[in-house]
Amino acid sequence: MTRPLDLSRRALLRASLTIGGGLALQAILPGVAQAAASEGAPITAFVTIAPDGVVTILSKNPEIGQGIRTMLPMLIAEELDVSWKDVRIEQAPLNEAVYGRQHSGGSNSTPENYMRLRRVGAAGRQMLIEAAAQEWSVAPEECETEAGVVHHRKSGRSLTYGALAAKAAARKVPDLASVKLKDPKTFKIIGQRIPGVENARIVTGQPLFGIDVSMPGLLHAVFEKCPVFGGKVKSANIDAIKALPGIHDAFIIQASEANPSKDPEGLVDGVAIVAKSWWTANKAREKLEIVWDEGVGATQSSEGFSALAAKLLGEAPATVLRNDGDADAAMKTATKVLEASYSYPFLSHIVLEPQNCTAHFKDGKIALWAPAQNPGPGRKLVAKTLGLQESDITVHVTRGGGGFGRRLQSDFMAEAAWISRKVEAPVKLLWSRRDDMQHDFYRPAGFHKFKAGLDEKGGLVAFTDHFVTFGKGGKPANSASTMPVTEFPAMLAPNLRYGQSVIESNVPTGPMRAPRSNALGFAFQSFIDELAHAAAKDPVAFRLSLLGEPRSVPSDPAKPEPQKDFNTGRMRNVLARVAELSGWKNRDKLPKGTGMGVAFYFSHLGYFAEVVQATVSTSGAIKLDHVWVVGDIGAQIINPAGAEHQAQGAALDGLGTALGQKVTLEKGRVVEANFDSVLPLRIDQAPPVVVEFITSDFPTTGLGEPALPPVAPALCNAIFAATGKRIRQLPIDTNLLKA
């Protein structure tokens, strides 16, 4: 932030000798425009080559199952030109001043790092070549590299990177902007199926995750928060809890003291119990008696929200987000007008590893071990909570047992830090499953009222949506704020109006895998399916006609950005291919009760079209038969093994969510507490998922999220094809599907 701006315009590379005599390659690269504007921090990658040729590459971003710990080092290793078998990977320490942003979110790791980390590797290769050329007194241009060795073919000489590392480290660092990159046709690592680098430790049960942290003298903590959001502790039987066997300490935490600025991720009121084992601490909660002042939040309920949404949907939207042409006038010219209301619930992230953090406060400094997705802001939160300087806080980022956006918020770090300071000992705070489900930053619920008009040929002449979402304290709630004005079919329909109204609530909300898109995709792509059927058109053909000719539709006409703009041609391609792959044109030959549905969605710079085949029994039970996923995420699939995994996982995740997940509020509390009421998809429900990527001449982009949004509407559209019944509310109520 205080860094001079010109640094972000220059590319620097530093080399220095490591203790072992190896080459330490430290690159400081300019941030992307967006990152530089918000953080002003450069990105750094770090490579060490040992004399024996072992290459250690630091992976800078948190691993939460998206494969980043494997994929980012592949980029460096490729351009450095080393054998993957010689590469060792370590997690980079949290130091955003050196490494740039170290978050895992928004499918950003690929677009942010694909070119930059390749350049880091290429710079190292160039330095090693120069060192060899000097040794041999030949021109660097006469040298080449292969698998960790520099060759001078003319004279038949070669030297390993390990032997050259010390000399290479002393060389002037090349300008990263002009280092020579490989022709992608010659890639040896990028494009290969590379298994996860921690698989061996995972399958043998080695400690890897935040929950596995252990150290001498470690105490264990639980933190009981008010079941009603915003509630306060009036009193608690602290002395009785402290008297229980095995209890080290128990105390009330008050937000007024621990979070006076009311940071949404900061501490809330509750009671901490610290014990020699987690089991003992958690068991003591059975004896815990807290008198709460539940506050205004106690009046909130899902039922109340739905009733209020219904009322708002009957009125004019509070805000008009977009107004193209004259939708009302065009609607009057339509030969057919459709209206439909859609809704979806609050959702919990249900990461399998519950929130946890180990903290050790000592002598005015604190160390934390956390499965964080966003450790930089986490450290800022801890600094604010404890009144410490960030330089007094060390954060060790562990592997995360799932993330899905939940761990972008660092509330668990603040809690652990506060408790450790209070008891003056290392403490591992671990949430129970109930804590995790009832104190999430939820995917916001939402409500839509659509209206559309078709002409006599089935063409779309008018389209409107009134969206009801949630706000807090007069401000839009996190990840609930304002529907994108570019939401499809915006800019492709001449007469279109999007409006929005906001329900006040204090339910904590936050990003969840494909934020906003995971919900909007369902509503919009389902209603568009209704339009296709109303127009008596093939749902694929109807969508192709809406997309029109291949062209780029600017996301903001005032400042076109080729990558963010919606490219109808790329979407046409994936849609046409998924139809072909799934055997869409033969769907009328499917047995009775079986149907195919299609949907597409553009999010996180990725284009995805998906077909789901499902069978609905007379009892309404849904069997998922098959899923086909076709995506276009640019020119290069970096790690096909990881890419296939992310696309399959995202599609199945979206299906599981549509079938069995919601979070219900009653009297201000979340009702669901475990996996018997929020149902993750299980293996007996999981259909085969065929994944195919179309490579295009566009920059390589990320994959954690964009395969998710089309799958729920594709399923609901398949159910319509199978039964003639339209699902307009998630999760799917199978009672509505009984024959």
Binding site: R193, P195, G196, V203, T204, G401, G649, I683
Partner: protein
């Protein structure tokens, strides 16, 4: 209360409450962190171990009920004839995403293949549906079990 239990072929003694679940004995008393806590209610399978060869949710078994039964955990699978094959298949097929559930998946798959060397899809569904993979790596989990069944 002191209890001596047989874990991965070794006798281990702990002094804990009689109702402490085996999962917490393994994790916090014996420092075997491979078995994972996911739900505390026997609903997710992340804590699956073998008790006398039977796949069991260790968060649901009190230490006082174990007696002389043999407990096997993920840390013991490298020395288990089938377990080692499952681990190798999981590596070869790159099964894990976040990996948090995989210890439990491997314990369930090992128990299945030990009892039923050639499981059908229905056998796999029945044996593995108690193990949640939040990342939905199910396609490769199924492929891993089949690969071993087919002797590849």
């Amino acid at each position: 209360m002191p209890y001596t239990i047989d874990v991965n072929g070794a006798k281990r003694t702990v002094d804990v409450d009689p109702d402490m679940p085996l999962l917490w004995v393994l994790r916090d008393e014996l420092d075997l962190k491979g078995s994972k806590f996911g739900c505390g209610a026997g609903l997710c399978g992340a804590c699956t171990v073998h008790i006398d060869g039977q796949p069991t949710r260790s968060c649901q078994v009190a230490i006082s009920t174990i007696g002389s039964a043999s407990i096997a955990t993920i840390e013991g699978m490298a020395a288990h004839q089938i377990g080692a094959k499952v681990q190798a298949a999981w590596m070869a097929l790159d099964v894990p995403q976040c990996g948090y559930c995989q210890a439990g998946q491997i314990m369930s798959a090992t128990a299945l293949l030990s009892k039923t060397p050639r499981p059908t899809d229905q056998d796999i569904d029945a044996a593995m549906s108690g193990n949640v993979c939040r990342c939905c790596s199910y396609t490769r989990i199924r492929a891993g079990v089949k690969q071993i069944a087919e002797g590849k």
